[in-house]
Structures are given as C-alpha cells and as structure tokens.
Symmetry: C2
Subunit: 305 residues, 2 copies
C-alpha cells in the first residue's frame, strides 16, 4: 500500500508545508493540475520525483480560464480516483482549494500574459491565458517549490508559463515534460472522457496528421504552408472542425515560412462538441528524435534569462 497523499485545503497550511520543506533543506517540485488525472499527469509526478525530494500537486478547476461557452461546469471531477493515483505515484501533498480560497471577496489583481500567449489558443480562447497565468502564479506563491512540471501536450500553455515566470523573475524552474500517448497515438487528455467510441476513433486523426507532417518534413518538404496543408488533409477525414493546424516557431509560436532547424506543429480541432489539441516538435536534424515519447524535457530556469 502506498502512503496516502496529504490533502490540504488551506492556503496558509500549504505555504507552511512547502516552506518547512525548504527550511529542512529538501528540494521540492510542483505539479499543478485541474484533476481528472490520467497517465500524463502521473508522468509529471514521476518527473518531479526524479528531480526533487518532495513533490506537491494541486487540483483546482480554475473558473477564470474557461470562456462563457466552454466546459467549466461539465469538466470531469474525479477527486477520489485522483487522490488514489497521486498516492500510488508517491506524491507527498496535494492542495485542493475551493473557489473562495483562491478568489476571496475583493480579489482584483491579474497577470497580463506574455506575447507568446497571443496566437493560436490566444485567438480561439480570448482571456484563457490571463486566467491561466494568474492562477499559476498564485499556485507558485502558495507552493513556492524549487521546480514545477507541465505537460508538452499543452505546449503553448507551458511556453506562456515559462515566459511569465522568466519575465516576473519567479525563483522556480519550469520544466516541460513529454506528452504521454495511448498505444494508438492519441494524446492523453482529461477531455478524452467526453468522446463516444466512434468519436474516439476519429480523434486519432490529430495524431495521424502530426505524423504525416513529420514524415513530409523527413522527405524534404520544408515549406510550412505545405506541411500545414498535409495536416489539414488528414484532419478533414476525421474531425468536425479544424480551429488551427500550423507549423510555427517553437519559441515564439510566430509564423515561419520554412522549417530551418526546429519547428512545432500544433493542432486544435473539434470532434463533436469536444475540443482537442495536440502538437509535435519537428526537427530537420535526423539525429534529433522528434517523437515526444522519447523527447527530452526542455527546462527553463527563469532567472537565467
């Protein structure tokens, strides 16, 4: 039996625990989540355990990062299963605040996200990243660990958080860890629970589109417009709506004409009413393994900039 994870609801109690770890000379890591945990989240706990003496997670379905027509109210809440998975993975503590603990009466500060937040998700989900960086900065203050761990599946989110933490000199490393996929290639996501069996099959077209993109690049196609067109061709057969399917600069997420060294392919699409995203790092160097299963986590120590 794994030791049960310590569940904390109170801001001060969480802060005290993490500061006590620090005073004891223990290196600590943080994995912020919205719950509905799957193997992707658990891989972040494992990554944190590898680099740290103590690991904290947070579970909070943050209302301010959902648009008015988005799935906040129906977002899956599976706390008991989440706690069991965290315990099993060796997570030491999990912060599970209610809305009032995070946004008490009078709360009125927000963080205006960095420029990498503007394209793609920034266009499709106005205000989303303001909600994300504000809540993440709060969680960084509530659990002031040495390092934090985010998934590559939400690549733009991870880049936005890295840039925010760097711009604001947050004294914490921000690591991006590989996407975890189902055996058939579908990226793990809490929103996969929304898919019917038929939709689940069609959702595979995101992965197939990314793989086709990678293959075309390997065959010498460096023009991003052509690579995007190849992805769209694959997606059209499976998804109900393509929000974007692009190949862009992996740091700024700005458009590029040609893949010179590294680039990232990013997709957002709808299957029925479910919105899914996925991405794949691309490289023109055949020695660089571009499948995310074996991709090295990129890490950024904000204070190095």
């Amino acid at each position: 039996m794994a030791t049960p994870v310590q569940v904390i609801h109170n801001v001060r109690e969480m802060q005290s625990l993490v500061l006590a770890w620090r005073r004891a000379g223990l290196r600590s890591g943080l994995v912020p989540t919205m719950g509905a945990l799957h193997a992707g989240h658990i891989s972040l706990i494992h990554a944190a355990r590898e680099k740290c003496d103590r690991v904290a997670a947070t579970i909070f379905v943050n209302p301010t990062q959902f648009g008015p027509k988005e799935d906040f109210s129906k977002y899956p809440r599976t706390l008991d299963a989440d706690l069991a998975m965290l315990s099993e993975a060796g997570c030491d503590a999990v912060f599970v605040p209610d809305r009032e603990a995070m946004y008490p009466s009078g709360f009125s500060t927000s963080v205006e996200p960095p420029s990498v937040s503007q394209p793609l998700e920034g266009v499709c989900r106005p205000g989303h990243f303001r909600g994300v960086v504000t809540v993440v900065l709060k969680l960084f203050g509530i659990a002031p660990t040495d390092a934090s761990f985010f998934g590559h599946k939400d690549y733009q989110q991870a880049r936005v958080i890295q840039a925010m933490a760097s711009d604001l000199n947050v004294p914490m490393e921000v690591h991006i860890c590989p996407t975890v996929r189902e055996p058939d290639g579908l990226a793990m996501s809490s929103r996969n629970r929304y898919l019917s069996p038929e939709e689940r099959q069609r959702a595979l077209s995101l992965w197939r589109a990314l793989e086709r993109c990678r293959l075309q690049l390997a065959c010498g196609e460096h023009r991003t417009a052509e690579l995007a067109a190849a992805m769209e061709k694959e997606l059209i057969s499976g998804v109900d709506a393509i929000e974007y399917a692009v190949v862009v600069d992996p740091v700024t997420l700005q458009p590029i004409e040609l893949v010179e060294q590294q680039a990232i392919a990013l997709i957002a699409a709808k299957i029925g009413t479910t919105r899914l995203i996925d991405n794949l790092l691309l490289s023109t160097d055949p020695r660089v393994t571009t499948t995310d299963a074996t991709a090295k986590p990129t890490s950024g120590n904000p204070s190095q900039h």
Copy 2:
C-alpha cells in the same frame, strides 16, 4: 567605519544571495527604492533590521511607472551617497540593476493592479501602478525575502502592493512604516530636491492642511466634504495646483461621507513644476495617536487572507 554594503547588479546573483540566507535559516527583509535616499528610506532599513537577520535594498529608477510627461529623465540619481547611507544603516546587500537586466528583450508580461489602485493616483497617473506592481513583483522574485518594507508617505502605493501581494499569494509580509518628516513637518521625499527655497516654504502647506484636517476632526467635524474643504482652503495659499485633497476609507481608498472610526486624508499638489504627495491617518478615537511620527507600522501577511 560601517561595513560597505554588497552591491549586486545581476539578477541571478541577487537571487542566489537571498536564497542562501534562507537556506542558512536567516530571516531576511527587503527595502525597494528608486535611490536618491533620504532619512525616510533609512528608517525602512532600520525597521527591516529590527525584524530581520539580513536586509537587502534595491535601487532602480523604474521607467515603466513614469508617464510620458513625468520626471523620469530628471529624477535624482545619487548612487555614491545612497551606498554610503545604506552601509552606514547596516544594509547587507543592494541590488542595482540596469534597465536591460530588468526588462530584457522580449519582456512582455505585466501585472494588472488591484482595485485600490484605481482612484486618486490611479486617475492622475494612468498606468503608474501597473508599472509599480510589475516591477515590485519582479523585485520580490529577485529578492525572495520573508518581509518587505514600504513608506506610509506613498500610502496608496503601499496599499496597492499589499493587495497585489495578498491576491497573488506572494509568500512575504508587506509592512507599511511611518512617514519621516523634516522638523517643520514636510514629508521626506526624493522630489523635495526639486524645490527652490521659496517653493520649499510653500510646500509646508501640505502638512498644514493635513494638521488642520486632524484638528477639525478632533473638534467634532466628521463630514469628509467639510474636512476636504478645510484642507483645500489651507492649500490654496501655498500650492500652485491641487490634484486632490480628500478624506477616504483607509483600506479601499473609496469615498466616505463621514469619518466613523478611521479614515485617511490624502493630498497631491503641485508647487511650481514639482508634484508632491502627503497623507495622514485620522481616527475619531482620541486614544489613537494620529501623527505618523508615532504611528504603529501596519503589517500584512498576504497569506493570512
């Protein structure tokens, strides 16, 4: 001879020093300044020394908190004298970054300040508090001490920073320390250096207006409109323009009709081209000493909210 203060220009070096203090179990305090130090700043160093084992200051004339027509370029820079005063006061380290260290190429995150930033200075100096809270949050990240110390003279600024730190769960106490005055009552300010001898005399009308306000309250005048009118009457004889002279709620800085228990009188006025501010906490309880010389510093531990 006092030990010379350690001067640090590099973000990482400053972060490392403060984190090393923390690892050594030392409690540390931070005094952010724009330099041109006077006895008011030094009182903050002393307050920090009383509560902490190690004290850091910062000197940075932050361009983003000045409006286009304000005095950024002519703001006094007196680094050698500042360092001598900090050494004499027993400050351990001072962070003196250049603009590039604070705002490197690509910097694009900002903090949208809390609602207490909106009235008064928020109206007179649009964008000022966005610049202030963004740079202060960065300094809190660069020097992650246990406590920080701000002057009561910039009362709204101090309240804005307290609210920001509370809203964002910054794990740091934010203390507001008493205003230090010249023997004749003029509040210490780096901008007093701009005043000609004749203007210096007229500048006293700010203090006289605040004292008159306090006296009227002591005589039973609780109506804020009447108290404000009394201040204006005093100011008119001395200053060249009144930006505001009000009695408001001391927590929210919102208008109130009557002084019920505590209130704050706040003034901004121009003497020639020099803009000065001053304020005085008011209380209807005669047992509460309302002169700031003996006022107790109010402290706020953000995580307590």
